[in-house]
Symmetry: D2
Subunit: 281 residues, 4 copies
């Protein structure tokens, strides 16, 4: 599927500073950039980097003078995620995890998986396979956590969402990651543009490593795993901010949109998502 994405950001810098944006679509075998433009106004020193481990693409901008900065990024992106079925998934024992995958088992700033071992065992211990555990986690989150805009902030963690039973996409992802890691299922955070996301915003999902693949999950149900354009991968939100600033930078306005260019595109249904799984990496 081909998607058109637009991202507009307006910032105010009160003093000179450097900041990094992570808003470009990833480039990999499953996600091809057909075209893209990146405009920074006023024009400033600007370097593009790619982190070769995560695939995250950064625009490092030096705002030499205080004032208003406007960024506009547009791209046409063609995705060809792999559709994976239960029978495709290898039975992988823990001792077969590659080392880079093992690092996604550790607790992180917003995912206190080290505290959730007993809860996960109680809740999901009956499940037979890692895939069933993840499906059960998604189902539990859908049934117990309410999506409430503005109910959380940048310091909210998975444990907070578990206790207060509400959050936004960022929190749904953190809770899914924490519960999966608590059951020794490697999991990581995935930021994206999502087709017709409502309200329009950057989106957060999570991937779990099962049977040799990273499968993508959206615990909010607001997007279809096959209807997203991948931006960033990290252990959790601490590692994949849209903007990391070294100095005071104030976000004045943010406008994000993503649309499938194919008019026939439709989101996968809840039932389909029990049988087909999406691999973006």
């Amino acid at each position: 599927m081909t998607f058109k994405i637009i991202c507009e950001l307006d910032y105010t810098a009160t003093a000179p500073l450097t900041f990094l944006l992570n808003i470009r679509a990833q480039k990999n075998s499953r996600q091809r950039i057909v075209d893209e433009t990146f405009h920074l106004t006023p024009s400033m020193p600007h370097v593009e980097h790619t982190d070769h481990v995560t695939g995250n693409r950064f625009d490092q901008i030096t705002a030499q003078i205080p004032g208003l900065y406007h960024i506009r990024y547009e791209a046409t992106v063609e995705n060809s995620p792999e559709l994976v079925y239960r029978h495709n998934l290898a039975d992988t024992e823990v001792h077969e995890f590659p080392l880079e995958v093992l690092s996604c088992l550790y607790a992180s700033r917003y995912c206190q998986s080290d505290r959730l071992g007993n809860l996960a065992a109680q809740q999901f211990g009956d499940c037979e396979t890692p895939l069933d555990r993840v499906l059960a986690v998604i189902k539990w989150i859908e049934e117990h956590i309410s999506y409430v805009s503005g109910s959380t902030d940048a310091s909210t963690s998975a444990v907070d969402s578990l206790v207060e039973r509400r959050g936004v996409c960022r929190d749904f992802a953190h809770l899914g990651i924490a519960m999966c890691r608590a059951m020794n299922i490697p999991a990581r955070y995935f930021t994206a543009y999502a087709h017709e996301l409502n309200p329009p915003d950057f989106h957060a999902c999570f991937e779990t490593w099962i049977g040799g693949r990273w499968l993508l999950w959206d615990a909010t149900g607001l997007a279809s795993p096959d209807g997203v354009v991948h931006i960033g991968t990290g252990r959790d939100a601490a590692e994949v901010s849209v903007c990391t600033s070294f100095g005071n930078l104030q976000l004045d306005r943010q406008n994000v949109s993503c649309e499938a260019l194919d008019k026939d595109y439709r989101k996968l249904t809840v039932e389909e998502l029990q049988r087909v799984f999406i691999c973006h990496t």
Copy 2:
């Protein structure tokens, strides 16, 4: 029922200090002190106080010289708790709560009931009456929280126990209190000696105000609500320490026992505790 209680405490004071002990059995219409002795060795200035609101009895001790202090408290206590049945409980609307009971609706140091509204509504919202909600809370705790000695400490809160799914009697009580308050059921902490508690220790339960009475609950199942000798009442453990010291006091040894003198005494069964409820106040 009549109980024999013994409490022995050995402390080391490294410098002169004052400390308060809350270890004596309460005296009220339902709990009569047949006899009691309190020995402090070496002998020191020592004043007894009773808090007329809570009934808590304090021994205020001034250790004028550093060294070892030994306290031995023994008492024979006759309890006549009220056995209450469902049909005895009045239907009391919130606006009929006396003011002193309303104060047991507030969140406290270890009971973050303000954070548990959504969870309690999800878990127990189907229950028809306050009594049924409390019975459901007790059942949920029994099914989900493991009693694990040494798994918690003085800073553990109800939210910690909820997340980590384990604790000791103190934590079971805090979680019960927090969940009840989150549903507007006044609840408070109750410390006691408990018949043949294993391991022997001070015990913590909680009371809820339902239909005009404070009913006693033990979410650990280790004691029967009719087999306890009441020591202290407070909002949570922060308010009813065995020992509050104003200076450094180290507990070296603690020995507590409680036995029903009536050989026929037996604990109420789990089934009986669904039908008969105990009022100690």
Copy 3:
């Protein structure tokens, strides 16, 4: 001094419910209500209560029908706080604290004094008297905590403010209380109307029990302890909400004002507040 206070609250009730307001000025030997009016529109069953321990006055309102409710409370209040000087303060040893004062030594929901013992000893351990410790706490808070509107919420605790170094009046009070209790100085929360408070709002301060009196402190510096009209007393914000609702009640608008009727009234200066202390109780 005589003050004119006005409080207007607009609520929306989506279903019938009961709620309690704590907005009336206290009546005691130091605070005389010259006149007051309380209007509830539409008119509903409404009972006034006074908690005789704290002096808090509650209006218990039953909203029998869903809809908009408007409350307007006006009063003229004459305060005669005691001006206290260092030499007036008795040297009171901990063992001389009355029991009701001891209860203000315990940790509470937002004041985790049990965790701050080492910090308080390090920071304020050199101070000679309890009064000096409190003055040092106020000074430390003024120097280290920034008043930032909107930076906190109803779940923010003293420890959060200590770590993040910012808050609003509620948080300044909680941090002051927690640090004082950590040094065995009884402390409690004090809600009030405050002369020309900017931005206009209910105000939160704290009292400490020193030398036989409860002295009032405002760690924000936004109000003068002699320029407030006392509403509520409690261990912390959990116990003195403006509104405690048993059901869903949404605050749509709040308008609060307080003015000294005496045109010559001026706030005490920072220097004066090092030498004269205010007792409101």
Copy 4:
């Protein structure tokens, strides 16, 4: 310097499981393994891995039968850390940080640097260079945090240590890392064997990236940065456990020692550590 290290671990496995040990000394240009032996009793399937990004060496052990397992690792390791002086350190602006270093700016499970911005600016904002900020952080920690064995556990975070003012080496390192990251100084966790550490144990320090190098710091003062044998690097303790087990594994006994073979070896003094800095990577 050449060090002799010994590590003995006794575990009980109650069921078959896989576990990973991270106890071997790293091999790199500054740390040469002269000889090493690794014995596992009883003998079991056992694979050695090296994470090429971090240099961490893992022994992946499959315990096929329940029972007691004994591991003994011995090695002679020759270290040649670089001694770095203030004038050697380049002035590196944030925008010059390599991407892999930027990842050490993010908050992590035990290092909530995102919460410490105001505190770090207040405390260390006057320092002129990143090096001075780190020296000031080390000094602040030494002056304010007490080393108290057993005072913390695996869930203790930097914020906890900041509030309670005590911890062990793990906590000193986490607090140092969190404060540095809060000032945009990349920092990471460093596990090691340390010469004559008392009490004998694995040791935790931290590195900061300054002027093109990773400099090593020990905020406890218990080891000299030039007297350690490097084991693991990670963002914090969550990523460099001695043992990561996929199943229940109980540590029964741990014995660790490290000695400099050169009899003339002496630890750097506090004064020397203000002028010479150690680079292990």
